[in-house]
Amino acid sequence: MIGATAGSAAMYQAMNSLGFAGESTYRGPIDLQGAPRGASVLILGAGMAGLTAAYELRNAGYEVQLLEYNSRPGGRNWTLRGGDRYTEMGGQSQQCEFDKDLYINPGPWRIPYHHHGMMHYTKLLGIPLEPFFQVNYNAYLHSSRAFGGKPQRYREVKADYQGHVAELLAKATRQNSLDASVTKEDQEMLLESLRQWGALDNNYAYTANGASSDRRGYEKNPGGGLSARPIPSKPLALHDVLDSGLWSGVANGDTFDMQTSLFQPAGGMGRIGEAFARELGPVVRYNAKVTDIHQDERGVSVTFTDTRELGAPQTARADWCLCTIPLPILAQIPMNVGQAMASAISAVPYAAAIKAGLQFKRRFWEEDEKIFGGITYTDLPIMNIGYPNTGFQSGGKGVLLGAYVWGLRAMEFTAMQPPERVKKIVDYGSQIHPQYHQEFENGVAVAWHRVPFTMGCFGMWTSATREKHYDDLCQIDGRIALAGEHASFLGGWQEGAVTSALDAIGRLHQHAVAQGEKA
C-alpha cells in the first residue's frame, strides 16, 4: 500500500519543486547617487535583470547600452499571443493562433505579494495587476489510479483529510494517549480547536452533516423557497484519502511563495518587459548575438552579430559590463574572467520545463465545472492545468495552461516535436476534462531547453554547488558583474533577477565612484 502511494507523494513533492521559499531582499528604491560623469555600462540581456539594471543606471546618469539576442524585450518575461511565431532550437516553428486578447505566459506567470522588487516595478511602470488564484477549492486534485481516475475537488480532499486527522487526534487525546505531552487544560483547548479545525461533531467525529458539508460542499446545496433544504454530502473514507495520495496536494498553497495574495499583469506577464523597453527606448538594441566579451584595464568590449543580417561582427564598449546572459549560453562565450567565475558559470545545470497554451471554443471549465481560475494538479505527465484568472464568464473562447511540467517528464516532452507535445497534452488533459477533444482548437507548447535565448528554464543549484561557486558567480571580476535569477537564492523567480541586478549594480556603482570621473 505504501508502495502504491509513494509515487504520488513523490509527485506532489516534485510539484512544489519550483518554489524556493525565501523572503526577497528588496529594500526599496536603489540609491545610485554620484555617478561619475561620463561613466558607461554595457548590459547584456534584456530580461528582468538587464532591464531593471538599465532603467536604474540610466536614471542615475550612467551612459547605458543594452544588447538583446531576441527581437523583443523581456527574456523569460514573455507572453505568446495570437499572431506570434516562435521558433525553437532545432528549427521547429509554432504559430500562435489564439484569438484576440487571449494569451499564454510560457515562463513566469505569478508574482507573490512579497516579491517587493517586482511589485515596486510593476507599480512604477503603471502595469495593472490582476489576482492570481494559486488555490481554487473547486479545482481538482487528480490521480489516475485513485477513485477510478475521477478527479476530486480540492475542497473535498482538504476537508476530508483535515476532518479525519482531527478525529484521530481527538480520539488519541480523549484516550489519554497525549497525557505525557499535553496538560489537561491544554487538552480541552486542543479538543475544541480540533472540532473547529476539522469540522467535527459534538462527539468529535467527522461525519456527514452540516458541519462537514460546510467545508466539503453539500450533496444538495442550500437554496431558497420550497426546494431550499440542503442535503449533506458523504465524506470520503480516511483509507481512500490516504491511499489516493491526493492528501499531498492539500498544502500546495501553503508555501511562502504560493500564499495569497499573488498577482498577474493584465494582458500577460510580458507587459512588464514591454513597459521597461518603452521607458528605455533606443537604449536597447535587439537582434544582437554576443560572441565575445573582453575586458582590459580601461573597459569592456563586447563583440556581437546582428541575427537578421550576415554583416560583419560589431563591437560595443563601455567602462563596465553587467552580463545577465543565462549560464548555459554564457559558458560558451569567450570571456576573460578569472578561473573562479569561469568555473562557477559552468557549474549550474539548467532545469527542464514545459508549458503549453491550449485554446478552446468555450470556457467549459467555467460553464460546466464552475472552475474560475486556479490550478488542477494531476499525476498524469501534464502535471498541472492552469485556468485563466481573468475574463470570467466572458462567453467566448478561452486559453488554458494545458501543461506545466518539470523534471524527467519535461525532458520527455522536450524530446518530442511541438505538434506531438500538443497532441499528447490534449489527450492527457481529456482524462480530467472530457470536453477537451470536442472543444479544442489550437495550441502551443514551449519546451525550455529548446528556447534559443536560455537553453533551459532556470539554474539548478545544490547546497554543494552554492557552497563552492555561488559567491564566485556574484563577485565582480575586474569590470564584469553577472546578474539574473541564476545569481540569486530565488531561483526561477523574476524577483531573483531583479534583486540580483540591484545588488550587482550597487556594487558596480561603488567601483565606478571609487574610480572617479574620467580624465
Binding site: A351, A415, V451
Partner: protein
C-alpha cells in the same frame, strides 16, 4: 502503478517489445520505470530534447553540441563523465537514485549510462567499437548525493 499508460509501458518492456522511435512512442517513462530503458530509448526519451534526433545538435544564442561524427567521442570517458556530471547547462544523470536536484534530472544506473554512451558512440556517424561496461562507469567519479529537505 503510477498510471495506466505506465502499466502498458511495463508490459511492453517485459514482453521485449522495443519502444521504437520516440516520435511513434505514446509512452512516458517515470522514476519507477526509467530503469528499464536501454541506451537507444534513453537517447530518444531524454537526450534528443537538446541534442536533437540523429544527434544533429542545434544553435540559438548558444549551441547544443552535435553528437553526429563528434571527434570528442574518441574518449568514452569524456562522454561518460558528461552524462554522469553534466557539462555547462546540461544536467547530471549520475546522482544516486532518489537524490539529486529538486525538479532535477533523472537517475540513470551505471549500466544505463554505459548503454547510452555505447549507443551514441556507435550511431550518428560515430563508429567506436569498444564497448564500455557498467563496471567502468562505476569506477568514474559520480556527483555527490544531495539530500534535499522539504520545502
Amino acid at each position: 502503478m503510477r498510471n495506466n499508460l505506465l502499466g502498458c509501458a511495463l508490459l511492453l518492456l517485459v514482453g521485449g517489445v522495443s519502444l521504437g522511435a520516440r516520435a511513434d512512442s505514446p509512452l512516458f517513462t517515470s522514476r519507477e520505470t526509467i530503469s528499464s530503458l536501454n541506451g537507444e530509448q534513453i537517447y530518444e526519451h531524454i537526450c534528443q530534447g537538446c541534442h536533437m534526433p540523429g544527434g544533429q545538435g542545434a544553435t540559438g544564442a548558444g549551441a547544443f553540441p552535435k553528437l553526429a561524427a563528434n571527434k570528442n567521442f574518441v574518449s568514452w570517458r569524456f562522454v561518460a563523465l558528461t552524462v554522469l556530471d553534466g557539462r555547462n547547462g546540461m544536467p547530471p544523470f549520475g546522482y544516486p537514485e532518489g537524490q539529486g536536484m529538486r525538479s532535477g534530472p533523472a537517475h540513470l544506473t551505471d549500466a544505463q549510462i554505459a548503454d547510452v554512451v555505447n549507443y551514441v558512440r556507435s550511431h550518428f556517424g560515430n563508429a567506436y567499437k569498444a564497448e564500455v561496461t557498467a563496471k567502468q562507469i562505476a569506477a568514474l567519479p559520480h556527483p555527490a548525493a544531495e539530500l534535499m529537505g522539504p520545502q
